[in-house]
Symmetry: C2
């Protein structure tokens, strides 16, 4: 029997649903990415968050290359069934720039600036 | 001169960008909705969050009908420039069901259930 949450998701015309990742204890919003049906199913069955990469057109097991995995604490669905909120435990950093959160660009004094610094260099993160 | 954050947004093929609303002090993720260029511009200029309703095909000034407005504290853009995070002060409830957050569906003992109760009835919210 299919998972009841999976059955309730209203995937878009491309078969995708946006998923917001939030650090379960601090409340920090880490990133937003997309999932297809297989990604949601894998996330629920393994407890490791798996997205769908629209550029690579395939499953994107978060942390597979960087080691910065997301352990699922709870998956929630919104009122319309078309957006997911994943409460996760993020190991290290969520952003490919080496920052904890992807949401680091904001306006300061008329300019768009990075309001947080990388915690680790992308070179180190991806082993180049 | 256009706002530097607005200029940096990578809108999708439909001219839209997803925006996550988070209560600025508690960290609660309230909802996710879409914005077009005009909605972002209005949000930045008025300090009241305005989305774009895909069903109504027009600007959706959050709280216009229900009174449950969102005051903008800060608008942040993610690393790829294709998702916004709005730190807001939500008056009352964000969800049309009368719940504080739209993300209230989760699995409990094999069933999809509502994990929070409405704080106000939708009838009262929309004055029916």
């Amino acid at each position: 029997m299919e998972n009841p949450l999976l059955s309730a998701i209203a995937f878009n015309a491309d078969g995708l649903v946006p998923c917001i990742a939030q650090q379960h204890d601090t409340g920090e919003v880490l990133m937003m990415a997309w999932m297809n049906r297989d990604a949601v199913a894998e996330t629920l069955s393994t407890g490791r968050v798996c997205y769908y990469s629209r550029s690579r057109r395939g499953l994107w097991r978060k942390g597979e290359t960087s080691g910065q995995v997301q352990t699922l604490k709870e998956l929630r669905l919104d009122c319309d069934g078309d957006t997911l909120l994943a409460l996760v435990d993020q190991l290290g950093v969520a952003c490919h720039t080496g920052r904890r959160s992807c949401f680091y660009q904001a306006e300061r004094e008329g300019e768009l600036v990075a309001i947080t610094a990388p915690e680790i260099s992308p070179d180190k993160l991806y082993g180049h």
